[in-house]
Amino acid sequence: MTEAPLLSIDGLTVSFPGEDGPVAVVRDFKLEIGREKVGIVGESGSGKSMTARAILGLIPKPGVVMANSMRLHGQDMLSLDKTGWRRLRGKRIGMILQDPKFSLNPVMRIGDQITETLQLHEKISRAEQRERALEILAAVGIDDPQRVYAAYPHELSGGMGQRAMIAAMLVSSPDLIIADEPTSALDVLVREQVLKLLDDLVTRRGIGLILISHDLPMVARFCDRILVMYRGRVVESLDARHLDRATHPYTRGLIACLPSPALRGQVLPSLSRDPAWEVA
């Protein structure tokens, strides 16, 4: 049986007013995602984060979002009002942002931030809420959930903070997670732990994941397929196992400019950008 896609987007365009009329920061974006891991890769200004924000209904004014269609489980997202978006974000789509220091509430204990979400979605007693929160903290690989439950965000390391973020998001059992640079503030060891945790959760709970990052090799290792964005447009769509089969000169340039043992101490190729890449 073929499953309907979790999320399907067609012709998504995000624009902001500029001096000479609207400037499109995302152009004609198309994606169908099921219970899989899709990476969106691009450099700063490529529109990858704006795409994520548009999917979450978080494009700030005066930005304008247009699309032929945007559906989550078949439900039309374009006609949602503020309340509708909020419900969708809380319950159906979870998000993880780059730096837990900014995305957790600094004056609230971790435990309270998790139970706050629980209270919104389920009618259970205080004791049960605490129980559930501790369970979730343990599920994201936190060894001493009691301590983290009572801790404020500043008392946690970057990796712990990111785990707490993931825990807070998992409470509402989302079907789709959008992670925007979830590991780029973390060091390599912690990065691998957080990625492994995400991988386990996504696989075990059958969640769809959109991973947004500038780190092409990391995304290639982690995801099933990759969309490469350049100046607002997807220029290449790839099977993550076959990065070497990339054909677009931008993708190939991004791979070539990475330091590697073969180029050790030598001048790295720099990326020369072709204006033609901006035209579909």
Binding site: S44, D215, P259
Partner: protein, 255 residues
């Protein structure tokens, strides 16, 4: 001019905070860096690598032990004399935070030159801007008008302006896109070729470290746990389990 740059660090302990809050950030570090060498300090967050770099930069004074840099003895427990900063300059990780947003590029570059009594400041600034690949049109711009890579070029220009013997680099490319990282790494290599400068490069990214460094020290929880050559890293001749973990993680393999 001072004699050729080299760094000797022996028995160095660094602390953050005082009394019962005191944290032992670096434990008994011993290192020597040869003139014109590029030396890498690698480790995860909290390993003490940046702390040690800040001590060398003269930005932290709560330490004990002995440090000599470019023939200058760095006095423990106190702020080094102004002349010390002529010998050592630092480039920071975040080019968005390390430049004064209210100063033009011209003023950012001129400040150190004037402070240290350089003549021909004009000419030096023009030369510096060429050297870091920016050119004269950037001279009177403000940091907010520049991209991350351009800002990092300004930060590098500021650091080499005083013709230091030692350049300290704290994750200078980790906030940048891959293509910009390549350009900055190329720039650093060009500077190293053109000037008799010794570099200490801190990063958790082993591919960047391997690319630039002759030798590497691996730090874990404040202690140096392994010393390696760049060739060892390429050939994976590593002994310590922590170094193995770092290598595996940087390639996304299970340790």
């Amino acid at each position: 001019m001072s004699k050729a740059a080299a760094i000797t660090i022996s028995g160095v302990d660094v602390y953050h905070g005082h009394g019962s809050q005191r944290f032992h950030a670096v434990r008994q570090a011993d290192l020597t860096v040869a003139p014109r060498e590029t030396f890498g300090l690698v480790g995860g967050s909290g390993s003490g690598k940046s702390t040690l770099l800040r001590v060398l930069a003269g930005l932290l004074s709560n330490w004990s032990g002995a440090i000599t840099l470019a023939g200058q003895v760095l006095p423990p427990g106190e702020r080094p004399p102004r002349s010390y900063y002529r010998h050592v300059q630092m480039v920071f990780q975040d080019p968005y935070a390390s430049l004064n947003p209210r100063h033009t590029v011209d003023r950012i570059l001129a400040e150190g030159l004037v402070l240290h009594g350089f003549a021909d400041v004009e000419q030096r600034i023009r030369h510096l801007l060429d050297q870091v690949g920016l050119g004269p049109r950037f001279r009177f711009r403000y940091p907010h008008e520049l991209s991350g890579g351009q800002r990092q070029r300004v930060a590098i220009a500021r650091a080499i302006a005083l013709e230091p013997d030692v350049l300290l680099l704290d994750e200078p490319t980790s906030a940048l896109d891959a293509s910009v990282q390549a350009e900055i790494l190329n720039l650093l290599m060009a500077i190293r070729r053109e000037r008799p400068v010794t570099c200490v490069f801190v990063s958790h990214d082993l591919s960047v470290i391997t690319h630039l460094c002759d030798r590497v020290a691996v730090m874990q929880q404040g202690a140096i746990v392994e010393r390696l050559s760049g060739d060892d890293l390429v050939a994976r001749h590593v002994q310590h389990p922590y170094t193995r973990q770092l290598l595996a993680a940087s390639e996304g393999l299970p340790a």
